[in-house]
Amino acid sequence: MSGMLPGGDAAVYLGVAAIALVTLGARLGGAALMARAPMTDRAQRFLDGMAAGVMAALVATIVARGGARELAAVGAAALTMLGARNATLSMAVGMAVAAAWTALV
């Protein structure tokens, strides 16, 4: 299954390095920008909104492509998070629902 690599082994490592650089750029970039010019309120709101939007977009896409099992798992995880405010517990509950669905349905 992993014998033939997409784009070849070296290309994958180059891509991994590029992803790492993009991520490091985000980690260092915020402080670097602030040293030169404070972010405008609007830019700050755009980045905050994008952070909220991208997570919701990923979940919605996965649930839309999946089915009732994914929806049940994600719904259980969301309710757990809203109730218990514990991300780890929330993930555990979602996985348990999905595992039970596979075993029973």
Partner: protein, 244 residues
């Protein structure tokens, strides 16, 4: 997304903070120990990633390298969603940048302390910035902590667990059998929905989250893999920026 504090200044206007911020080995050690209790929860998440990465076509060595160098679970999982042959690199890198844009905001929020350090130590302090150690360090610095080493310490505590977990999942994942049996295939959406649900406690996130979800689903058939999510993220950002 957990970051709601506006970075009030860039460091230049905070001479008091600038003179008193430190970065010491003792601080790194303290930060590491503060996260000792969280580490056992990072490993299973790493196992799920390692197994999912191998299933998506990575070799085990590639998956472990990814976790060691990138150290950002959300973007690593998101990349698997669009991974294909040939690799759509522009979509992959744009998606990674979009998912990790929150680190940019967190980094800016820590600027007034981070920028008080010399460049080498500033780099070390920020290079393992992630959701949990950001929240911990930001709260501690605001409460009077002066040692930015705790940020790196908290990052390193999660980093080794993330890499070890990924290795376990990548090398032993095949022996585990189908991921569906353990529900491990839904770790990603459950992790993301937990972040979304946490963000929904703040009303300002409601519109961006709703817009992001709707735009992503509406465009996912029309756009190449990954770009629906990127479109949703940009629309969510626009909804927040254009808010009156």
């Amino acid at each position: 997304m957990t970051n709601t504090d506006r970075p009030e200044d860039g460091g230049a206007a905070a001479p008091a903070a600038r003179t008193s911020v430190t970065f010491s080995a003792g601080g790194v050690r303290r930060g590491f120990l503060r996260f000792a209790a969280l580490t056992p929860f990072v490993i299973p998440f790493g196992i799920a990633y390692g197994a999912a990465a191998v299933e998506a076509g990575f070799t085990a060595a590639q998956a472990v390298t990814m976790s060691a160098l990138v150290f950002a679970g959300a973007s690593q999982f998101a990349v698997l969603e669009v991974w294909a042959d040939p690799v759509p690199w522009i979509a992959v890198l744009t998606l990674a940048a979009t998912v990790n844009a929150r680190f940019f905001v967190m980094s800016a929020a820590l600027a007034r302390w981070a920028n008080a350090l010399p460049p080498g130590r500033r780099f070390l302090a920020l290079c393992t910035l992630a959701d949990a150690n950001f929240a911990d360090t930001h709260g501690a610095m605001r409460a009077g902590e002066r040692d930015m080493g705790i940020l790196l310490g908290g990052g390193l505590a999660q980093w080794w667990a993330w890499v070890v977990g990924t290795a376990l999942g990548a090398y032993a994942g095949a022996a585990m059998g189908a991921l569906e049996r353990y529900g491990a295939d839904v770790v990603l959406p459950c992790f993301f929905i937990a972040l979304v649900a946490a963000g929904l406690r703040e009303r300002v996130n409601w519109a961006p989250a709703a817009v992001g979800a709707v735009v992503a689903v509406a465009t996912m058939e029309a756009l190449p893999a990954g770009w629906g999510v990127i479109a949703g993220a940009l629309a969510g950002g626009a909804a927040a920026a254009l808010r009156p």
